[in-house]
């Protein structure tokens, strides 16, 4: 293992994050606060409670997940797309590194950033609602796994993308709908039966459900299923990246 390369990539990517730390944080914090105002205050005054949890608190895990997933994807996809775009990828391709080291550097940094922002969102939410976390360890585990797996997914998008438009396309067309329909703002059990069945095909449901369980002890699907789902997703992404580097798809002519 070329650990020095992993560290070099990680440090370089984190430096990019800290250069623009204000922008990186302002927009997620602002939008989360808006969600609290809109969903928590406006809608929450009508719904009040979901399965014994106040609606304002109920949406917190979903909001954190929403942020972490979109941030993981956008950070990782941009992180690898940008070198392709400005041409600095030549250095990566000519360096004595294998795919695992490149992935650990880029995905590690992207996941760290997403995690950082996720924690900031969580802290922000403490200002709006009272929450206690019943299973802190599970909470951290779900958070880390989600950051990593979505960063892996973002990495694939970044390699696939041939333009900035395409870079935005997948998150916009696929990820955002899945995340919004994944139960961030409601419990799946609140849906009509048909939609409950359809929701079971949405992988995000499993993540949000598991994450919410670590807060309140209530879940839409069994916790083990959630864990398996996220592990499977991570494995799938890793496999795809391994194949990409082996075949040189979209990176090496």
């Amino acid at each position: 293992m070329n650990w020095s390369a992993v560290r070099a990539i990680y440090v370089f990517e984190m430096a990019r994050f800290f250069r623009t730390i204000a922008q990186s944080l302002i927009s997620p914090v602002l939008s989360t606060s808006l969600y609290f105002v809109v969903f928590g205050a406006a809608i929450g005054s009508r719904i009040q409670e979901v399965e014994g949890v106040s609606y304002g608190a109920f949406i917190v895990p979903g909001l954190v997940m929403l942020t972490v997933m979109t941030q993981g994807i956008s950070n990782a996809s941009f992180g690898i797309y940008f070198p392709k775009f400005i041409g600095t990828i030549y250095e990566l391709l000519s360096a004595p590194v294998n795919f695992l080291e490149i992935v650990m550097g880029y995905v590690g940094a992207a996941a760290t950033k997403a995690m950082f922002i996720g924690v900031v969102i969580l802290i922000t939410s403490f200002f709006f609602v009272d929450i206690t976390i019943q299973h802190p360890l599970a909470m951290v585990a779900f958070l880390v796994l989600t950051c990593v797996s979505f960063a892996l997914f973002g990495f694939i998008i970044g390699i696939w993308a041939g333009s900035f438009e395409q870079l935005q396309l997948v998150p916009l067309l696929i990820v955002t709908p899945l995340v919004f329909l994944g139960g961030s703002f409601y419990s799946i059990s609140m849906l009509p039966p048909v939609w409950q069945t359809i929701s079971m095909f949405n992988p995000v449901v499993y993540l949000i459900s598991g994450f919410r369980w670590s807060f309140f002890g209530l879940a839409d699907v069994p916790i083990l299923t959630s864990l398996l789902a996220i592990a499977g997703f991570t494995g799938l992404c890793l496999g795809a990246i391994w194949w990409i580097f082996k075949s040189g798809w979209r990176i090496r002519q």
């Binding site: 070329n2 020095s4 390369a5 560290r7 070099a8 990539i9 440090v11 370089f12 430096a15 990019r16 250069r19 070198p83 400005i86 041409g87 600095t88 030549y90 250095e91 990566l92 391709l93 000519s94 360096a95 004595p96 590194v97 294998n98 040189g248 090496r252 002519q253």
Partner: protein, 311 residues
């Protein structure tokens, strides 16, 4: 001694089917400076990219200090430094950080003294804390060189290091390459400037259309170029070289209007005086006299054109 870089029958076809390298073989000795000359699209960058791992060869093998670039890519690549043709740098990063990054990426631990040494050598130390976007084009090129040298490579590729660079910086580059050679670094550089190859290379290779047309010691080429031709224009055309001038190995020029005499500028006696006297004695009338020297440029152009005519 085994060559430090050995390229054997390398072919490269791009995805669109275009064959940019058509079986290139080239051995490069440790410590030498090789200039790779060739017109636009000849395959210079493709060859370098293949050796460095940026593109995959379709066929053939390359070894660096005995390490195969595909099977033993780690060992091979850690010995290579690459300065690409196009300037590609992270615009918002500081100079010193990009150099540290390169060093780390190539598996060397952080060593500030080494980085400082390189930056000083390339006159970038004063700019170390500037963002890349604040540098001039020539400085950016030097940052690329600094990055390529950050891990102490033994083989350095410079893809047109002096394109768009002013005279002074070009001299600087030559000095840098010279210093590197003193340290035992092998350098392969591509260039369109023949004077550049003349000024710094030990050997010169000419590539066109994906094929190496010539590899020769620069000195040998220079001797070839040391040959000069004296062209004697005549008032009255001749049908053949007069017998009285048989000793000079003269060639009759176009339409018999001139006589061409080839001599070596470096020899003690060029024989010009005697020839001209003999020409007068033979009763020929001179209209004009001119001399021509074949330059590396002529050799280059004639090689490339010969290839094109054959195609």
């Amino acid at each position: 001694m085994a060559p430090i870089l050995s390229i054997k029958n390398v072919r490269k076809a791009y995805d669109d089917g275009f064959e940019a390298l058509k079986g290139v073989s080239l051995d490069i000795e440790e410590g030498e400076i090789l200039a790779l000359l060739g017109p636009n699209g000849a395959g210079k960058t493709t060859l370098i990219s293949t050796v460095c791992g940026i593109t995959m060869p379709t066929a053939g093998t390359v070894t660096v200090a005995g390490h195969d670039i595909v099977r033993q890519y780690r060992a091979a690549r850690s010995l290579i430094g690459l300065v690409p043709q196009e300037i590609a740098l992270e615009p918002f990063e500081k100079v010193i950080n990009t150099v540290r990054f390169s060093r780390g990426l190539f598996g060397k631990g952080r060593k500030d003294s080494a980085v400082e040494d390189i930056l000083r050598r390339l006159s970038l130390w004063d700019k170390r804390n500037n963002q890349i976007r604040e540098l001039s084009g020539g400085m950016k090129r030097r940052v690329l060189i600094a990055k390529a040298l950050a891990h102490d490579p033994r083989v350095l590729f410079l893809d047109e290091p002096t394109a768009g660079v002013d005279v002074e910086l070009r001299k600087d580059m030559w000095d840098i390459v010279g210093q590197l050679r003193a340290d035992g670094v092998t350098t392969i550089l591509t260039t369109h400037y023949i004077e550049e190859a003349e000024a710094i290379a030990d050997r010169i290779a000419v590539i066109n259309d994906g094929e190496i047309l010539l590899v020769e010691d620069k000195d040998k080429l220079m001797t070839r170029m040391g040959q000069k031709q004296l062209i004697v224009q005549l008032t009255d055309p001749l049908s053949k070289v007069p017998a009285a001038l048989a000793d000079y190995a003269l060639v009759l020029g176009k339409d018999g209007q001139s006589l061409v005499y080839t001599y070596d500028t470096k020899s003690e006696r060029t024989g010009i005086t005697r020839l001209l006297q003999d020409v007068a004695k033979a009763g020929l009338h001179l209209r004009d006299v001119e001399t021509q020297q074949s330059s590396l440029e002529d050799i280059f152009v004639s090689l490339v054109h010969k290839g094109e005519d054959a195609a």
